[in-house]
């Protein structure tokens, strides 16, 4: 199909090759388009950073988009202190770290069982688990609120961690399963002959080999869980217990015209995931691709 299309395409413009612009000009055009475009792309972020560093008086006198005439960390101070972003950050860490660790641990266990053993119906199990992760969260919200209530974990961080783990498991299992299956059988076979049991093979051979995909999934899961809003406002009620994203929206309500505080708080909420992104850029991108089934 491609070959015939190619032939057609070639037949239509036999002289086009000669008309191609010289290399240097093309490079210049490329940067002339991409540089301004990239600048437009990052402009909203730069603007928020500048806004966060201005003083309240400067903003209220000159407007949000005026050239800055002040430089202060007051916005950040208020956001972290009175705006309780500092406390929310600690909450988010308390939720994200156990949720990521537990999700990956449990998912790797399930993936190990499904990929290395002849569990009956393992394909159906795997796809069902993946399907669970694709469900729209809306269909779970009300029952999850009720179930966490009946388990006595409503309005607790334990309940929030539980729903993050449960909801993410299917996807992580699917990705890890794909990776574990590619590990040659000889490796585990040799260990088995040497007398290693299933748990030892999992812990000593499979998990170390999975390190790259675990790193990628960890980067991805960290941003997902840290950035979550809907689960935290579903499971948590007490304002003091809200993690960063939910606290940010609350703060916005409380500091309506204090744009420097709102801007500073949203930067505080954005920085951790940006750090994860820059530190694990390659892992992060490969994690996204795993999600695409590529």
């Amino acid at each position: 199909m491609t070959a015939t299309a190619l032939a057609e395409a070639a037949a239509e413009t036999p002289a086009a090759a000669a008309a191609g612009p010289p290399r240097r000009r093309r490079r210049w055009v490329f940067h002339a388009v991409m540089a301004p475009l990239t600048l437009i792309w990052v402009a909203p972020m730069l603007f928020v950073v500048v806004l966060a560093l201005r003083s309240f008086d400067d903003i209220s006198q000159n407007g949000t988009s005026a050239w800055p005439r002040s430089l202060t960390l007051d916005g950040f101070r208020t956001a972290l202190g009175a705006g309780s972003m500092g406390r929310a950050m600690w909450t988010s860490i308390q939720v994200t770290v156990p949720a990521v660790v537990l999700s990956l641990l449990l998912a790797s266990m399930a993936a190990y069982a499904l990929s290395r053993y002849a569990v009956p119906g393992r394909r159906a199990i795997l796809l069902t688990m993946l399907a669970g992760n694709l469900l729209p969260p809306q269909i779970l919200l009300i029952p999850v609120a009720r179930i966490t209530e009946s388990l006595g974990v409503y309005d607790t961080l334990v309940g929030l961690v539980a729903i993050h783990v449960g909801f993410g498991l299917g996807f992580y299992t699917f990705v890890l399963h794909g990776f574990m299956r590619s590990i040659p059988a000889e490796l585990t076979e040799a260990a088995r002959i040497d007398g290693a049991g299933p748990v030892q093979i999992y812990a000593r051979i499979i998990m170390p080999l999975c390190r790259p995909s675990l790193a990628a999934l960890a980067a991805l899961a960290t941003t997902w869980i840290f950035n979550d809003l809907i689960w935290s406002i579903t499971v948590l009620r007490t304002e003091a217990k809200l993690p960063v994203t939910a606290a940010l929206l609350n703060l916005q309500g409380g500091y309506v015209s204090n744009w420097n505080v709102v801007a500073a708080a949203s930067i505080v909420a954005a920085v951790p995931t940006a750090i994860v992104f820059f530190a694990f850029q390659r892992h992060f991108v490969s994690g996204l691709l795993m999600g695409s089934g590529k």
Binding site: L6, T64, G197, P198, G293
Partner: protein, 300 residues
């Protein structure tokens, strides 16, 4: 499973108990936190319930009420606009950028990073970033004024005619990088010699894209399509952060309306019915994604 012939034939007898445990613990957690709640929503959607006492079964009343509910119909229409706008713009933008940034040249890494950086921010953060720009004296209006279009200036998020689109722009800004990454991977999987051959034969840029590259991206397209539609049906955070569905429900999506009905008004049965409809709409795309996932399973 082709890589495992030896263990399978020898260990046909059974799976060690500890391995069953490895599978059961995660499975039970997922059933408890995902599948059981999902089933509950189906039941709740057939009841009237305010969270206290017992739920009253009312049959299909909630669904009947929904289709007579103007706000619901508006949200449904907004969701269609959202899916088309969000999907269309982020695919166009992402694909164009992937094509532009595909071949390694100087500066490409920097451009790529800048464009997918917004993707790491939460949708709520993205919403706030853009709320600032949309303020009456914010950058959007200031820029319009600077280029002589002050007649276009408005309160973007407080105007029922523009609120939905203003939120949409912010969401697309964040999504383009993600779609670009998917397409960059897809382009890596294409055969460069075909493209070079077409170029040598004098095919124009558009012809090379249409007849050489595009047919090779079919797999990525399916994934991008499914992911985008599932994402747009799930969209909640960014609308909640920017407008909460207002003004006058003009930026209401199914998800925000469901949340309001369920958690603000405590119409739990009614909200569940909306949730079930969201699920029904998402289902076909979930199946597309799963079929694609299965195919990859078989291929590798």
């Amino acid at each position: 499973m082709t890589t495992l012939p030896a263990p399978r034939t020898r260990r046909r007898a059974g799976v060690p108990p500890v391995v069953w445990l490895f599978l059961l613990v995660p499975a039970v957690i997922e059933i408890a936190m995902v599948f059981w709640p999902a089933l509950n929503s189906f039941y709740l959607s057939l009841t009237k319930w305010n969270g206290l006492g017992a739920a009253q079964p009312v049959g299909l009343d909630n669904y009947r009420e929904l289709f007579a509910d103007g706000v619901f119909r508006g949200a449904l229409r907004n969701n269609v606009i959202w899916a088309v706008g969000f999907g269309g713009l982020s695919v166009l933008g992402g694909l164009a950028l992937a094509l532009a940034l595909n071949r390694p040249r100087r500066g490409v890494g920097l451009y790529r990073s800048a464009i997918y950086l917004p993707m790491v921010f939460s949708l709520a953060v993205t919403g706030l970033f853009w709320r600032v720009q949309y303020q009456p004296d914010g950058t959007v209006n200031t820029l319009l004024g600077a280029v002589g279009l002050s007649g276009w200036e408005r309160q973007w998020l407080a105007d029922p005619n523009t609120a939905l689109y203003a939120v949409l722009v912010a969401a697309v800004w964040r999504q383009v990088g993600y779609v670009m990454v998917l397409y960059l991977a897809g382009l890596k999987g294409t055969d460069p010699t075909l493209d070079d051959a077409a170029a040598t034969d004098g095919a124009s840029g558009w012809q090379r894209f249409r007849f050489v590259i595009w047919p090779q991206l079919r797999g990525v397209n399916t994934v991008v399509f499914a992911v985008t539609v599932i994402d747009s049906l799930r969209t909640f955070d960014i609308v909640w952060a920017m407008t909460q569905g207002g003004p006058y429900h003009s930026s209401e999506l199914l998800s925000t309306y469901m949340f309001q009905q369920g958690f603000t008004f405590l119409n739990l049965g009614y909200a569940s019915a909306i949730a079930v409809l969201i699920f029904a709409l998402a289902l076909i795309f979930i199946i597309t994604y799963l079929v694609r996932a299965t195919r990859d399973e078989v291929e590798t």
